[in-house]
């Protein structure tokens, strides 16, 4: 049966899309946390807790995405294809964006878990690469994603990008006002 034989392939695509959506949500949550544009409700600890929770879910979804691609026998990716950029013979550039996104996601998550032990400046410099992470993940989805041509996926991507840009703009304005 065709559907049953491609279950891992479908799971990999699903996890990729959900993981990208969770990364988008986590970035937006982090920006809301740093701007404090929402005021006192919701509280800062609540926003921080949700930001961390969404990041953890994004890591989980990305792990499922990668594992499903390796387990799946329909597309037949090797381990080296999903950990070394440009190693794959299939759309190497598109996959490289995803691999770099994966590494950035892991680095940002690990440094956040040990943020108390790191210099604040170093943690912030690494954490700011989340914007690159979101951008690379979006490019990966558009170039390598089988569902990139799907209208719903495109609408979701446009909405997510617009939200990130909008909240980022709010943060920039908020920071300028805080400094002046």
């Amino acid at each position: 049966m065709v559907i049953a034989s491609q279950t891992w392939w479908h799971l990999a695509r699903t996890a990729g899309l959900v993981g990208w959506a969770l990364i988008s949500a986590s970035v937006i949550w982090g920006l809301l946390l740093s701007t404090r544009v929402l005021g006192r409700r919701p509280t800062r600890p609540w926003l921080l807790s949700m930001h961390r929770y969404l990041s953890a879910l994004a890591i989980g979804a990305t792990a499922i995405h990668v594992i499903a691609l390796l387990v799946d026998s329909y597309v037949q990716f090797r381990v080296i294809d999903v950990i070394v950029p440009m190693a794959s013979s299939w759309r190497p550039g598109a996959l490289a964006w995803g691999i770099v996104t994966l590494y950035l996601l892991v680095i940002v998550e690990i440094t956040s878990l040990v943020a108390d032990r790191l210099p604040r400046r170093l943690w912030w410099t690494i954490h700011i690469t989340s914007f690159a992470l979101f951008t690379f993940g979006t490019i990966h989805g558009l170039q390598a994603g089988t569902d990139a041509s799907n209208a719903l996926v495109r609408i979701a991507m446009i909405v997510a990008i617009a939200e990130v840009v909008f909240v980022l703009g709010v943060r920039v304005v908020y920071r300028r006002r805080a400094w002046t």
Partner: protein, 84 residues
Amino acid sequence: MSSPARDAKFVAAIVVGVVGAGTFAGVSHDGRGGAAPETPATTTAVLAPSTSTLASTPVNSTLAAEPAPPDPVPTRARVRSRGS
């Protein structure tokens, strides 16, 4: 952990689960999974035989298999004979 935070995480997990299930249902039934050019394994399998076939096919044998063009001299001769 405060109760509102726990509730929000529970709701977030439900939303992610529902969105994930919906997405899985969507990608399972859109037919793209069977698209041969989208997968590296199938692409390799399709390209290899066709390339080898092209390389091993002699050009002359293909031309020889086609019907020979008509001889132009007899044609002109027929035209002259009709016109005269």
